[in-house]
């Protein structure tokens, strides 16, 4: 049975103090150039929570604005505002403020590694509990907090990672082992942030219409962190730990990794598991990444821009068996960058886009929307990395022209007609193809589009195991209803057969009665 997309959620957490404390651009600068102008100027470029909420790409991410509407607004979007688009919540999720996110991190911790100052907890617990996605079981996990002196002790004397709010020390994440680097406070903090943001994504997914948490039997996490200890660095598994906090009593799961391509790999795996009937309902999810906070901050500060990379991202997608309504994942025609594909841009795009299309007997223009790398250009352009989605669309269009499927004159309009502007924060795996799945589902259910392609790319070379990078792609099609199997009898035919049988029966009764007379 085909696999369909039954729901999708997207969340952000605004974490400005984590930019300063946990983003690797900043932590590296503190080591190599501690008195740099960048570190001095950076705090004045941090956004308030209100500004982060009003920022239109963030409103798009949580579902309050369609990507096409965002695309109609001139770039950069730094100061662009739309009346009414200043909401914390959207149809896909929410933008959680830092103080509540710290409490969520603590609530997601099952080893007493995260502790917050009791005054801080007292000041923000009520707001945290007022969130409709926070159920009783999570509320019961909130610790009342510890004395400020304990926080200072663990940070100053016990190698704990500090948690700051408005530059004030309000908590810590302590190490989980004395000598194991894989359980250091640094690793535990990164993993806890990823876990908490994935939990928040899952909680929002569970509130959506038609989602029943008892039915979910498998969860796949596809973030870019690794959890384990000195004997198994990436042993895992985030997925089950996230399912536990969200109360998915009937689920197990595993972690799938592939750098930024991880979500698309996980999405294809999950869809295949559903299609194989191994599991009927599978969730693919990921939390965000502290290391990438402020990643391009030097260029943003140099150009007088805000630190846009102050958001932790997350998402969760529910896949289930064909209901005749929701969009169908085409597991039979997937694109893949193979070992032999090479690195020439033309080969890369051919393997990911035109090869699966050819296999399905389709042309480039048969896909209504492509979702490649949906990074927000406000972030990447000032840093010299260009407009990443646009670069991908140009390459797809160029290949289409080469194959004779598109006129040269249509090159300029292809990105608008078959693509979108990027709106996702540069959180690695978070913008890679998957931000569009929620919008895609809605647009297909509304009959606006019929076919889309999700493309994920991953920089494997960063792990120093190979010089290769990677990519996979998958198509999503509007549901045309559950087709009857060949040879099966339709409802109309059954009605006709019954009608005929009754007519024959009536005729035979009539004949019998005439004979009797």
């Amino acid at each position: 049975m085909n696999c369909v997309i039954k729901g999708a959620s997207y969340i952000l957490a605004h974490t400005p103090d984590m930019v300063l404390e946990n983003g690797t651009t900043q932590t590296t600068e503190k080591i190599v150039n501690p008195n740099s102008d960048y570190l001095k100027e950076l705090p004045s470029h941090l956004r308030s929570y209100e500004d982060a909420v009003k920022y239109l790409p963030n409103q798009t991410y949580i579902g309050n604005m369609h990507p096409d509407e965002l695309g109609a607004i001139p770039q950069p979007w730094t100061d662009a505002r739309v009346e009414g688009l200043d909401k914390r919540t959207g149809k896909y999720g929410e933008i959680m403020p830092q103080e509540e996110f710290y409490i969520l991190m603590q609530a997601c911790d099952v080893f007493e590694l995260v502790r917050l100052d009791k005054d801080f907890v007292a000041a923000h617990k009520e707001a945290f509990l007022a969130n409709p996605v926070i159920d009783e079981s999570i509320a019961a996990r909130v610790h009342e907090g510890v004395d400020a002196s304990e926080v200072e002790h663990f940070v100053n004397d016990e190698h704990a990672e500090p948690l700051y709010h408005n530059h004030k020390l309000v908590g810590y994440v302590k190490r989980a082992h004395d000598v194991d680097v894989n359980l250091s406070a640094h690793v535990m903090l990164e993993n806890m942030v990823s876990k908490a943001s994935a939990v928040l994504s899952l909680l929002h997914l569970l509130r959506q219409e038609g989602v029943n948490k008892e039915e979910i039997t498998y969860v796949i996490d596809c973030c870019e962190e690794a959890c384990g200890d000195m004997n198994q660095r990436g042993g895992g598994n985030f997925a089950k730990s996230i399912a536990e906090i969200a109360g998915l009593q009937n689920a197990t799961g595993c972690d799938v990794r592939g750098f930024c391509a991880g979500p698309t790999h996980a999405f294809i795996n999950a869809a295949s598991i559903v299609k194989a009937n191994t599991h009927k309902h599978v969730v693919v999810l990921a939390g965000g990444c502290t290391a990438k906070l402020g990643m391009n901050g030097k260029d943003h500060v140099k150009k007088g821009l805000p630190i846009y990379e102050d958001m932790i991202g997350g998402f969760a997608i529910l896949l289930g068996q064909d209901d005749g309504i929701n969009p169908v994942v085409d597991t039979e025609h997937t694109g893949r960058h193979t070992v032999g594909t090479g690195s020439a841009p033309q080969n890369v795009t051919s393997s990911l886009v035109t090869a699966p299309l050819e296999a399905a007997g389709l042309k480039v223009t048969d896909v209504d929307k492509y979702s490649a790398e949906m990074q927000n250009p406000d972030i990447t352009k000032p840093a010299g990395a260009g407009d990443v989605p646009l670069a991908n669309y140009k390459m797809i269009a160029a290949l289409a022209v080469k194959k004779g499927e598109l006129e040269k004159s249509q090159l300029a309009t292809f990105p608008t007609e078959h693509g979108m502007v990027g709106w996702a924060p540069t959180q690695g795996h978070i913008p890679s193809g998957v931000p569009y799945i929620g919008v895609c589902r809605d647009d297909m259910l509304a009959g606006k589009i019929k076919r889309a392609m999700i493309i994920g790319k991953g920089s494997l070379f960063l792990g120093r195991m190979t010089n290769l990078f990677d990519g996979v792609s998958v198509m999503i099609n509007a549901n045309e209803g559950i087709k009857e199997e060949a040879g099966a009898v339709s409802q109309e035919e059954i009605k006709s057969l019954i009608g005929k049988a009754m007519k024959d029966f009536a005729a035979s009764l009539l004949a019998a009665s005439e004979d009797a007379e």
Binding site: C260, N296, G342, S343, A344, P345, E373, Q375, T380, A383, G384, A385, G386, V388, A391, N392, T426, G428, P431, K457, S459, F461, L462, N467, F469
Partner: protein, 43 residues
Amino acid sequence: MGFLEGKKIIIIGDRDGVPGPAIEECVKTAGAEVVYSSTECFV
């Protein structure tokens, strides 16, 4: 003789643009000596 004959080249490629190995192949055909090549990820 290629127009990069005798030149030493440092390559920094971009995963979403032109990756290092692809640039490497091009400049080698122009006679350059590649002394360093890497691909960076900016996202």
